[in-house]
Symmetry: C2
Subunit: 163 residues, 2 copies
Amino acid sequence: MEDGTFESLGYCGDTGVDDVLQWDQRADCEVRQILDRIADKWSLQVIALLDKRSLRFTELRRAIDGVSQRMLTRTLRHLERDGLVSRTVHPTVPPRVDYALTPMGATLHSTIRALVVWTEEHQNAIAAARTAYDRRTAAEQEAAEREAAERDAVARAVLPVRG
Amino acid sequence: MEDGTFESLGYCGDTGVDDVLQWDQRADCEVRQILDRIADKWSLQVIALLDKRSLRFTELRRAIDGVSQRMLTRTLRHLERDGLVSRTVHPTVPPRVDYALTPMGATLHSTIRALVVWTEEHQNAIAAARTAYDRRTAAEQEAAEREAAERDAVARAVLPVRG
DNA sequence: CGGAATCCGCCACGATACTG
DNA sequence: CAGTATCGTGGCGGATTCCG
């Protein structure tokens, strides 16, 4: 039927401890699945768009730009399965399918906003860090190459030239 | 040198609008990169572990369980490049490298907590939604098969038997 | 219009071996 | 100990085609 049915990619036994401070132990459990969902290439945009109003399939398709019908379908199916998006089929001709955010989906959306805000606030710092890192890396690379060239020159001066 | 260097998988022009309410338009921009980072299979656990105290490479390797040295290295490099994790090399023998969360990394960690809390609060609802969805799907599947079988039976009754 | 089914390219990941 | 280099593979995602 489908290719991407991943059942339980890692069961995590209930430790009985609801201590959020130890969530790193469970980071690969439920959290991972939700994270994989919202971090999905298209899910985020779908959720964002549906937060305003419900949309039809083609409306989403046009709005998102770059998404294939296959991936949009898959994304919507996943979100629907998780109870984040509702799907209502109108038995008309031509068919009409409306997608909307469920209450739970709406709460997720507002939760994600915190992350978006964080990103907005730190994107400059991140960009700066990246630039600095790349400059350091490039410098080290260049230094290593100079060193190699020097060793090569020394070896050539000492050893007799072959062939 | 490396295989996974994905430079700017989608530049997003600065709209000049800082309206967070329209972040869906920019959902595929900076937010995506951060999300891809923290949603990474290992990044989350690394950040969570480093929040307590700084750790050596091997300590992380043992703590995470299942991570290959290659992926751990890549993950740490990415986090370091984004300025979320600091890497300090002690010029001893045998070599010793300590990883720690930067202040920015710490703020990200606390931001992610909101998402973890959301997941904790809704994981039961999500599990229920998934079960319900799967039951509906299975039911529709079965109905479709019954219908097909019925059509087949009718066709067999009407048409003469071939061969 | 809103999908489902099929084929296929590509690269991200993992395992392995080697280095300083 | 803390990496880098290389290779093989699975699965994700896109393009295409067909259906109700």
